[in-house]
């Protein structure tokens, strides 16, 4: 009987899928797919979460998005918006099936308005390409995630992404002036204006930034831009402990200096990087701090000297790097550090679990110690690196992906890391988002405030069709 019921249900499901497909084809033509190949390909992002959609749609304009949402609203089908699918928390994975809206085809620059320090774009534009467009004008969009070459602005907005330079420039949230958003029922609203500031009513823009597509689908974004700095320099210092490194960073900031990037690479990370490439211009050992200063030639020189003077008191070694190629080589190595372990040992891979903890800057050494204790207890190796200047610690656990026991230990480690982060007054995610993998910690993170988030969700998406199963909502 059960088999019969399942058979009838599956048959009904199939018929519904095909009926709705006809409606969707009327909206986007052949840019909707139900092919198993496509459904498999859109069932994952860079996290450890999977969920297969029923449809993949590649809209090209706001009209198509709103009509798809009206259709989804009518049939109560889940809709999950996706940029490049580079997310690390399952934010773009359709846990309950339904429609995946691949927004990467909506990638046009609508207007470059240098005089008003802004650019108006569609959400599918890739971060690196956006900055290539701005470079000839001497401007840039400062948030700089490690996935710059492939991630889309829409994904950055939905996860409030940032990166290495957020310590000085802030996160994506600080650069959004206005969003065009399609709501769950197909209404289209604008959340801001062309002005650089506004005191008119609730700050709706900030509600949609970091909402991971649970409140609406972003179809255009007006972004604030900043002038490209004329010069940059790096100060690289090696310390005999993470605590000592942390103290130098705190002293730098308390001296009134604001580096444009402030990174820590723990001794394990340094060992892996040097084993991968011994010629890499980084210290051979120790816990390493990389601080970047940017601005005019004079300012950069003076700041670098001051930072060096601070570090030299406790560091094993300090040096200043000003050659562009050398700086690029160091940043490139830093960006790829997570996956580099596989180059060293093909049987080990980095997994994205517990990888985006944030704590108050001063607590970074304590958090590093906690991670060391947790990983040692569970018999795992972990690289610890990240944006110490804003308290964001990336933990790279490496495991044998074909060994289920390793997976269990890694999940256990991630759980303990998240809880340790909260205990230290931190956040379970600094820049990668909550998605599905961190949803279970939202109640511990927010307590009663989560009810307010849920109320906002209900008000804007009463049928719960927008990216269901995410953010603990």
């Amino acid at each position: 009987l059960l088999t019969q019921i399942i058979g009838v249900r599956d048959e009904y499901h199939k018929r519904m899928i095909m009926e709705i497909l006809e409606d969707l084809k009327l909206i986007v033509g052949n840019r909707v797919s139900v092919s198993p190949a496509e459904l498999y390909c859109y069932s994952s992002d860079a996290s450890s979460v999977e969920g297969k959609p029923d449809y993949v749609i590649r809209p090209l304009n706001v009209e198509e998005v709103l009509r798809v949402l009206q259709c989804a609203d009518r049939y109560r089908i889940p809709v999950t918006a996706r940029g490049a699918g580079t997310g690390l928390a399952g934010g773009a994975v359709p846990l309950l099936g339904g429609i995946v809206l691949d927004m990467s085809g909506m990638n046009k620059v609508v207007e470059i308005d240098i005089d008003n320090l802004q650019i108006h774009v569609e959400p599918g534009i890739v971060h690196e390409k956006l900055n290539q467009v701005l470079k000839p004008f001497g401007f840039f969009f400062p948030p700089d995630p490690g996935s710059s070459a492939m991630c889309t602005i829409g994904g950055m907005i939905s996860n409030n992404s940032s990166g290495m330079r957020s310590v000085k420039y802030g996160t994506t949230r600080s650069y959004i002036l206005d969003l065009e958003v399609v709501l769950a029922d197909g209404r289209v609203i604008n959340t801001g204006s062309k002005t650089l500031k506004s005191a008119a009513g609730y700050d709706l823009t900030r509600i949609f930034v970091g909402a991971e597509g649970t409140l609406g689908v972003v179809t255009k974004a007006r972004l604030k831009i900043a002038p490209l700095p004329e010069h940059r320099k790096l100060v690289i210092a090696s310390f005999n402990s993470a605590e000592s490194a942390g103290r130098a960073v705190v002293k730098t900031f308390s001296s009134g200096l604001v580096p444009s990037a402030c990174e820590i690479l723990d001794r394990t990370t340094i060992q892996v990087l040097k084993q991968c490439d011994s010629s890499l211009p980084l210290p051979k050992c120790g816990d390493v701090i990389i601080m970047e200063t940017d601005g005019s030639k004079t300012t950069v020189g003076e700041s670098a000297q001051k930072i060096m003077n601070i570090c030299i008191e406790t560091a094993q070694s300090v040096r200043v790097v000003s050659g562009t190629d050398e700086m690029e080589e160091i940043w490139a190595a830093r960006r790829l550090v997570g996956a580099s372990v596989t180059r060293l040992n093909p049987s080990m891979s980095r997994v994205y679990l517990g990888e985006d903890i944030g704590v108050p800057m001063k607590q970074i050494p304590a958090m590093i110690r906690k991670v060391e204790e947790i990983s040692e207890r569970l018999g795992l190796q972990a690289m610890k690196f990240g944006h110490i200047g804003d308290g964001n610690l990336h933990v790279a656990l490496f495991i044998d992906v074909l060994d289920e026991d390793y997976w269990d230990r890694a999940r256990c480690a991630a759980d303990q890391i998240h809880r340790a982060g909260i205990e230290l007054g931190g956040t379970i995610s600094s820049e990668h988002g909550i998605g599905a993998v961190r949803a279970q910690y939202m109640i511990d993170q927010w307590g009663g405030a989560l009810d307010v988030m849920r109320a906002i969700k209900r008000a804007l998406d009463p049928k719960g069709i927008l990216n269901p199963g995410k953010m603990g909502l």
Partner: protein, 379 residues
Amino acid sequence: VIQNHAGPDVTEVQERSKSNLDPRSIYTCIRCGTCRSVCPVLEDQGWESSGARGRMLIARELLRGRQIDRDMVNSLNTCTTCSICSESCPAGLRPPDIIEGARRELVSAGMKIDEHAKLSSAIKLIGNPFGDLSPRIGWLKDKSRLKGRADLVYFAGCFASFRYRENASRTFDLLQRFGVSALRDERCCGSPLLRTGFDATTVTEHNLGQIRAIGAETVIAGCAGCYATLKDDYPHEFQVLSVTEFLSQRIDELNLATLDITVTYHDPCHQGRKHGIYDQPRKVIREICELEEMKANRNHSRCCGGGGGLRAGYRDISMRLAKRRLDDVPDGVDYIVTSCPMCIRNLKEAGGGDKVIDLVDLLAISIGAYESERSKGVM
């Protein structure tokens, strides 16, 4: 509802693991999407299944024993095997190798596209992908120039033997100065079969027999596809060099004249990214004339769309990739030089026309100019 299944079900993998699909490589892909930023087919098509990461996911589904459908076949077969994804993969994976394994899996399950099946039949029955019955070594008028035994042999490849015979003849003329002979009964190197998932034993064994019979210690390939195949897929019994490598080592003996022209160079993927041959062609060109680089060059070079079975199976995509590659050509150059006949054909047809030439053609122009000047007593 939440499935943490990025890791495999080990039992499932053990049961389903097949020699064509390497679970470790497939599951080592962390789906970071770095390859999205470089895959030329994804850029053209837009769907995730048309990029390297999508193909890795489809390989994963094959490993999990999912039923194969036509779109999965198309996804796997639209890879040009250009390896630009390998170049950028932070985990050091080589997606084209995994994709070729998945293609073998498809072929063994009887899921092949007609165009590839036709290529396979032609190669196995006739010895070349064109099904051309004319004599393969027709480019060599005087067969007495062939030696019974030789340390060095020229492997012309199917394109030069049947489509660009003048080029084969010109190349041989140059090589023969250095004691190079050729195989009497060469057949397709097997590249089109191996890249598309078919078995190539018949032709590789045949060629191997020929190479052994002549006693060659070095095989010199005129085509990037043959070069990569001879180097990677044949037993390592002999040294494999590309014509470019061989001649760049003998540049002082070629009697070259300087030409007042500017050319650009297109790096063939199977010679460049696969085997790091970047400096040698540039050394030869700079000896002759000015070289102006393409917008994307060396390891960042864009694929012409001609390889990996893409042209045979999906001509429209292949042509669009070639047209896109031509956008990288700097304004005002006299020639677009390359070292692979498949690239030459695609770039010519996509609009490059007579401007697209082989490196050997450039050498021939330079040598011709030298001889002409010498005969006039200028030298």
